[in-house]
Amino acid sequence: MRNAFAEEILEIARQDERLIVLSADIGNRLFDKLKAEFPSRFYNTGVAEANNISIAAGLAASGFRPVCYTITPFITYRCYEQIRIDVCYHEMPVVIVGTGSGLAYASLGATHHSCEDIAVMRVLPGIHVAAPADALEVKACLRAAFNLGKPVYIRIGKKGEPVIHGEVPAFKFGSWSILRQGSDVCLLSTGNMLEPSLKIADILEDAKISVSVVNCASIKPLDEEMLEKMLNSHDAVATIEEHSLMGGFGGAVVEWVVDQNLDARKIIRFGTKDYFLHRVGEQEYARNQYGLGVNQITEKIVSFLKKRHDRTK
């Protein structure tokens, strides 16, 4: 995803002189082309994230459209108050991009995990939040965020993730896309959980369960219209994210469903739990520790459907 991000950055830079990248000492060689072509449009602001965000706000107030970039925990939690005040309170057109989100850097340990970033970012007034599913969607998402002219947070993975889309998809804030249309259970996936969600759908289909798969890259705003439609047309809706169950994408979905007085009992949520991981492992290992493995999710969905059917008999 990060290579696609750098490619799209270069494309935007060629088209719009307002773009400036502020990297907090990450992206070794990633921005070489940008630096060569536009030396005054890239700044390594050092291992100093608070200042990175404040500078971005000052540039944005002076007509630029900065993109702030480093590893997710450091460009969100570390400089949270600068984002809250200098970017959001002032409604500055700053795009904040966190790389290695969720459990992408699983083996680096919990200091580099970010399973709380959706929660803390989406509560900020006026900010838009997105989690693209693959490298191609990163491009569309970055372009939309840049053009929006408002505070945006984008969580992306690292590199080498599976590519799901055949071409750069359409991305619009507040709009989700249906990848598969079924009728029994609807999987609402955000970010990099789309690929496992498709695998889950395959297994469920083999068991004669009809599955819809929706890519929910826009977390704030939600696609409320589609959410309501999916909730009304399926027996169950599962939210799937590489993020804490508390305050994340699933949390946002449930908040909205409850506020609309819709049937929240249809919803089952998948995400990380209320503990840090202490043992070493790659992303798949970490997902399994949190019950986010493909088989783990599939089994829970099957038993959830069964319980719902038993109850409505």
């Binding site: 200042n51 706000a57 107030a61 630029f64 600068q82 309170y89």
Partner: protein, 273 residues
């Protein structure tokens, strides 16, 4: 005193009295830190900044980021007196539903460049603006007024490392070094000194100035050298609550507001009619 010094001295005394009135009617604190930076602001707005009160959003204007937002009443009063907005608007300071909060919000008044109040943000934002000037080939300069307690924020030193690296000599930070913070002497709470040397060792051109000497302030705030790549740090030695005998250097005035009798007494001290 020269005629010019007389004029600015008079303005500063009037601003100080206005601050007491505002604190009295709005029942707000932070009077000490507001009074300590009055002379800095008078020098900036009457002699240093290239600004037009009738055109506060001029893209070529000099910017002043008032980073010690808790003392914003001083900036409000100065901006009003300088003609950015009517002085009668100051009556709505901290009024419910009003536009002039006790700590500034974005665009709360013409001339207020940034919403501050959480310390340690203004310098980074000022760097962004100074960098933008450089990139756009603009001649405007950026001033950032900070408090001494504010220099305890780590983000200040992140900024302090960035500006010299990029040769931002269109940037000037002024520390209102009044030696107090909310609950005590700033130099007793943290190892503040030597503050000037801290900035110079970070690559700034550091200048110490007596922060209530209007002529010294004028000389320092208008001192720019395009041939020197260093950003400028002005350490202004001030007295918290300066100008009112029963307020100055008494840190209780970080929290309390003056009574009607105290306002009247101050008026006499300030030799105002």
């Amino acid at each position: 005193m020269t005629p010019d010094t007389n004029l600015l001295d008079r303005i500063a005394r009037e601003v100080r009295f206005k601050l007491l009135e505002m604190s009295n009617s709005a029942q707000t604190g932070h009077l000490g830190g507001s009074l300590s930076c009055v002379d800095i602001l008078v020098s900036a707005y009457w002699r240093a900044l290239r600004i037009d009160p009738a055109n506060p959003c001029d893209p070529d204007r000099d910017r002043l980021i008032f980073s010690k937002g808790h003392a914003i009443s001083a900036l409000y009063a100065v901006l009003a007196k300088r003609g950015f907005f009517p002085e009668k608007d100051l009556d709505s300071f901290n009024e419910e539903g009003g536009c002039l909060p006790e700590q500034p919000s974005p665009h709360c008044a013409p001339g207020v460049e940034w919403a501050t109040g959480s310390l340690g943000h203004g310098l980074g934002v000022g760097i962004g603006m100074a960098l933008a000037a450089r990139l756009r080939g603009k001649k405007y300069r950026v001033y950032v007024v900070m408090s001494d307690g504010e220099c305890q924020e780590g983000s200040v030193w992140e900024s302090a490392m960035f500006a010299p690296r990029h040769g931002l000599n269109n940037l000037k930070v002024i520390v209102d070094f009044n030696k107090w913070q909310a609950t005590g002497r700033s130099c007793e709470i943290m190892a503040m000194e030597p503050l000037s040397e801290k900035f110079s060792s970070f690559g700034w051109r550091a200048i110490e100035v007596q922060g209530h000497d209007i002529n010294a302030l004028n000389a320092t705030l208008t001192d720019w050298n395009d041939d020197d790549p260093r950003p400028i740090a002005v350490i202004a030695h001030t007295v918290k609550g300066y100008g009112i005998s029963f307020i100055q250097d008494d840190n209780n005035w970080h929290y309390r507001s003056p009574s009607n009798e105290e306002v009247a007494k101050a008026k006499v001290e300030l030799q105002l009619p």
